[in-house]
């Protein structure tokens, strides 16, 4: 049971960290100053969420190590003085140990793809955390409750941009269509629970239903149509939740973890 809680907490942390890292790549490169600030603010919120989840995961793992002895083979590198910390979880785990959804690791490409990825994820996260704030694990519930307020802003901002781009110029409309073609296949994974997601009272069917409906409202306003009208027949790629990632995650970690790999245990 505790292992499931650890795995689930890490999954939630990884989702937030990887999307936060992705968005932060826009820092200094946003289309206009205000939007550069917006996307990096969202990064900050996501990395803040990730910290809360990693701190909690570290606490659970250390407690488990104490009572049962470290798992062999150790699933995580025991960095930083033998104890797992939020930093060792972010900086010392390898690709296959990350369990984020495939959607969040997809490249930024252009503004349209970045916006759509954020919108898809924020809408999902909003619905998920609405349920998670009532879960029986108090700390997960507290983090969800806290994060929801921020996600509300992410959702509003990204939704407005989807409409602006979809219903904007011929060029922006085309770019949104391309972004939908690129990203749609990664949305199904969010609603397909992994083993560790099944014991927290989350109704994934309801999230999927509500998500599809909310996306449709925004897409209608944006003159956009999901593949196959959003029907269930579209192919969906999965794997991220169990550590099987697209090639992109490796590159993200290479950059994210560079300092700790090159100078182990460095601090500033």
């Amino acid at each position: 049971m505790n292992q499931l809680l650890i795995d689930y907490t890490l999954h939630l942390a990884d989702n937030s960290l990887i999307l936060g890292q992705r968005n932060s790549e826009w820092c200094g490169h946003g289309p206009v100053l205000e939007q550069d600030i917006a996307i990096t603010n969202i990064s900050l919120d996501l990395i803040g969420q990730a910290r809360n989840f990693y701190q909690y995961a570290a606490q659970l793992i250390n407690a488990q190590d104490k009572s049962e002895g470290p798992k062999a083979p150790a699933p995580l590198e025991r960095g930083f003085g033998g104890e797992v910390t939020e930093d060792s979880l972010a900086y010392l785990r390898k690709e296959r140990e990350f369990s984020n959804c495939l959607l969040v690791e997809q490249p930024n490409k252009d503004w349209a793809q970045t916006i759509l990825r954020q919108f898809f994820f924020s809408q999902y996260q909003y619905l998920l955390f609405e349920q998670l704030q009532n879960t029986k694990d108090e700390q997960l519930a507290a983090i969800a409750e806290k994060s929801l307020k921020e996600i509300t802003y992410h959702l509003r901002w990204s939704g407005e941009w989807v409409i602006r781009l979809g219903d904007g110029t011929e060029e922006s409309h085309q770019r949104m269509i391309k972004a939908i073609d690129e990203l749609w296949r990664y949305t199904g994974e969010m609603f397909t629970p992994a083993e560790y997601e099944k014991t927290f009272g989350i109704d994934f069917n309801k999230i999927k239903e509500d998500w599809s409906q909310k996306v449709k409202i925004i897409f209608d306003e944006a003159s956009l149509i999901p593949p196959l009208g959003g029907g269930g027949a579209a192919f969906m790629q999965t794997g991220g939740k169990t550590g099987k990632h697209t090639e992109h995650l490796g590159y993200i970690l290479t950059e994210l973890q560079y300092m700790q790999r090159a100078y182990p245990r460095c601090e500033w």
């Binding site: 205000e34 919120d45 803040g48 108090e138 507290a142 806290k146 921020e150 802003y153 901002w157």
Partner: protein, 166 residues
């Protein structure tokens, strides 16, 4: 004065002197982030709640609390962060709101405007902190810090920060 005779009120008055590093006109008491102070023998535990999940000021505030209470004589100060119930701008003191406005930042509106997906409803009416006009528009949902949005007044033309409802 021994540590035992120091009451909560004195401790709060010391905490009152600590300002938010990002909005230096507000104390951490004005912001409503100090939840409780627990005294046990000569040890103190200060319970705080973060305003925003990723707010980088929290680490600095934690350090400042320890330093500030050390000047009162407390050597052992533990600062604990709690997340629930989540911080809300409703906890900001009236004094805090007044100070914000004077500083040129529009204070948070009373109720959070939720993200209505049926097209996000009407924009929030935010009065200009300089000329009090409601004739303003939002430039960006996100501002110079996590807690602010950027607005501009259509009457006096001044751009200004708005401390978002949260």
């Amino acid at each position: 004065m021994t540590l035992h005779t120091i009451d909560k009120k004195t401790i709060y008055s010391y905490l009152e002197e600590i300002n938010d590093p990002e909005v230096p006109v507000l104390s951490i008491i004005d912001l409503g982030i100090v939840r409780d102070v627990i005294m046990k023998n000569e040890e103190l535990e200060v319970i705080i709640t973060p305003t925003y999940t990723g707010c980088p000021a929290m680490d600095m505030i934690t350090a400042t609390i320890k330093i500030q209470l050390a000047t009162l004589g407390f050597k052992k100060v533990k600062v604990t962060q709690v997340l629930s119930p989540a911080w809300t701008t409703e906890w900001m003191s009236e004094e805090g709101k007044r100070k914000l406005k004077e500083y040129g930042i529009a204070p948070p509106n009373a109720k959070q405007q939720v993200c209505d997906q049926k097209l996000f409803a009407a924009a929030e009416a935010v009065p200009c902190p300089h000329c009090d006009s409601y004739h303003t528009h939002r430039i960006s949902e996100f501002g110079s810090t996590a807690c602010k949005a950027l607005y501009q007044c259509d009457d006096c033309k001044e751009p200004f920060d708005y401390f978002k409802c949260h």
